[in-house]
């Protein structure tokens, strides 16, 4: 993915208001499953670019999560532990 789109998405997320928790509401069940995963759909399906590969592992920038649920449904190995942020935390939309 080009750095252009990375900048684009960061700019978009910057528009939003979040109450960021200190703990992640998302986690990878087994990094070894990710390592063997061919498609790595999470990298492209996530509209907030939460997932990235860092040092050979799937890393999660949960702070920008829009809580859509797409990653949970598309991960071909059901390898994402997907929960809701604690009450009052996460994305807080103001308009639409």
């Amino acid at each position: 993915m080009s750095t252009q789109t990375k900048a684009d998405i960061e700019e978009k997320l910057y528009l939003n208001h979040y109450t960021v928790d200190t703990q992640s509401h998302l986690s990878i069940k087994e990094q070894s499953v990710c390592a063997a995963c061919q498609r790595k759909i999470c990298l492209t399906i996530c509209p907030a670019k939460v997932y990235e590969i860092r040092d050979g592992e799937t890393s999660i920038s949960y702070e920008g999560c829009l809580e859509c649920g797409a990653c949970r449904i598309t991960c071909p190995h059901s390898n994402i532990e997907w929960t809701l942020p604690r009450g009052g935390f996460g994305i807080q939309y103001r308009l639409a």
């Binding site: 684009d8 998405i9 449904i73 009450g87 009052g88 994305i91 807080q92 939309y93 308009l95």
Partner: protein, 431 residues
């Protein structure tokens, strides 16, 4: 807090608020639990709100609710790479009160609606997520929240927790949605002055328009892109079946950027300032994906029950009406003091006999027909654009020559019979 309520509503979206309002105004002791800092904080809609269904809950709500613009024109565009075929309807009867529908911001609308529920006597508990339903002897008797000592009890629990509905999943009412049962939508709200909006969309002061786009707005995937006018903002977004979206390497935000840059769209939003960026799933499974709607002590409403008519971008109205039906059922159950599945199945009956199930049934094959026949988007839609170009281009070629050329284009690599069959299938699915 281990107080007992007549009913607990999980989720302050339009379905939950409709349910809470109807129950509270009928004297029931109701608690609404919402995980956002305020109602609407987690909710996303284009969004067009339909007057009729809202008015069945709060008559003349339009006199006080925060609304953006009454819609007087609805457009459908068939978008190709560098061209578009436009249809639509503008009716000045829609400019008069009471209007047909309105654009709204859910961030404002849900907050107002929740305030009405509180005025009617409901207890609103924000910033609280429900972790599990409390089940005893197979019957839902309350909810466990993420607050300390946060168990709450009730005769009936209404799950209005939206498309992801982890709670309905946990109860086994539905398993995980398949990728072709939901669409992923991304959207932005852009700031643009009322004057500019009215000039660009040819609107009288305060009036609104919507554009629904098929084809290039979703890069040929089954779904729609849309542009809606608000008072001082434009809502712009696109969404497609998750099954198709996940086959692409294009990210959802690249798809949205591409749409914003489209030559047919760019002039409409030129100079508009992005304010907020959204992503949300839309239930698209339709009739066949609707789970069982009740169990002992529990009812499921709105998106949590897949009650969305995707072909007509109707969701909020089905959500509200299902919430109202659930409330009427709980009021009835309270009179009989019975909250078992059989008593609550009255709600299922109301949903089945209303426009909700009738419409879902009517369009049950629409999304599948489109998904199974990529030619509609990849072949016929560009062909319609070409046909219009051909007929409008004055180049000395006779009109009958042009018509022959158009037919040939439509039939490229197809038999007449095959094309007719495609046409009939589509008509049958979306008529």
């Amino acid at each position: 807090m281990s107080e007992k309520f007549d009913a607990i509503v999980v989720g302050a979206g339009v379905s939950g608020l409709a349910a809470a309002y109807v129950m509270a105004t009928n004297g029931l002791n109701v608690a609404i639990i919402e995980r956002g800092r305020k109602p609407g904080a987690k909710n996303v809609m284009g969004g067009v709100l339909y007057r009729k269904m809202m008015e069945e809950i709060i008559p003349e709500f339009w006199k006080e609710a925060p609304l953006e613009r009454p819609i007087i024109e609805q457009n459908f565009w068939l978008l190709d790479h560098n061209s578009v075929v436009k249809t639509g309807y503008r009716g000045m009867e829609w400019a008069d009160m009471p209007h047909n529908n309105y654009t709204v911001f859910r961030g404002k609308f849900d907050q107002w609606f929740a305030e009405k529920c509180v005025q009617a006597g409901a207890l609103l508990i924000n910033e609280t997520a429900v972790k599990h339903c409390i089940v005893k002897d197979g019957r839902v008797i309350g909810v466990e929240t993420d607050r300390p000592e946060g168990d709450l009890y009730a005769d009936a629990v209404i799950l209005a927790d939206g498309v992801n509905s982890l709670l309905a999943k946990e109860l086994g009412l539905h398993t995980e949605w398949r990728k072709d049962e939901v669409a992923l939508a991304v959207m932005e709200v852009l700031k643009l002055s009322a004057d500019k909006i009215e000039e660009r969309f040819h609107l009288n002061r305060g009036m609104g328009a919507t554009i629904e786009l098929f084809g290039d707005g979703t890069d040929g995937m089954v779904g729609t892109a849309y542009v809606y006018t608000n008072q001082n903002h434009i809502s712009i977004g696109c969404g497609a079946l998750l099954s198709q979206m996940s086959e692409r390497t294009t990210t959802p935000y690249e798809l949205l950027e591409r749409f914003k840059q489209h030559p047919m769209i760019k002039p409409l939003i030129e100079g508009a300032e992005p304010c907020e960026y959204y992503a949300h799933l839309i239930p698209e499974g339709g009739y066949r994906s609707v789970p069982p709607l009740v169990r002992d002590g529990v009812l499921v409403v709105g998106d949590a029950a897949q009650l969305v008519n995707g072909i007509h971008r109707e969701g909020s109205n089905l959500a509200m009406t299902s919430g109202r039906f659930a409330a009427e059922t709980v009021i009835r159950a309270k009179e009989a003091n019975r909250f078992d599945r059989q008593t609550l199945s009255h709600y299922e009956r109301l949903v089945r006999e209303s426009f909700i199930m009738k419409d879902l049934k009517k369009y049950k094959t629409a999304s599948k027909t489109l998904e199974d026949n990529p030619d509609y988007f990849h072949h016929y839609l560009p062909a319609v654009n070409d046909a219009m170009k051909e007929m409008f281009t004055v180049d000395g070629v006779s009109k009958s020559e042009k018509q022959k050329k158009i037919i040939k284009r439509f039939l490229r690599n197809k038999s007449v019979l095959g094309a007719a069959r495609d046409g009939i299938k589509l008509l049958w699915a979306v008529k």
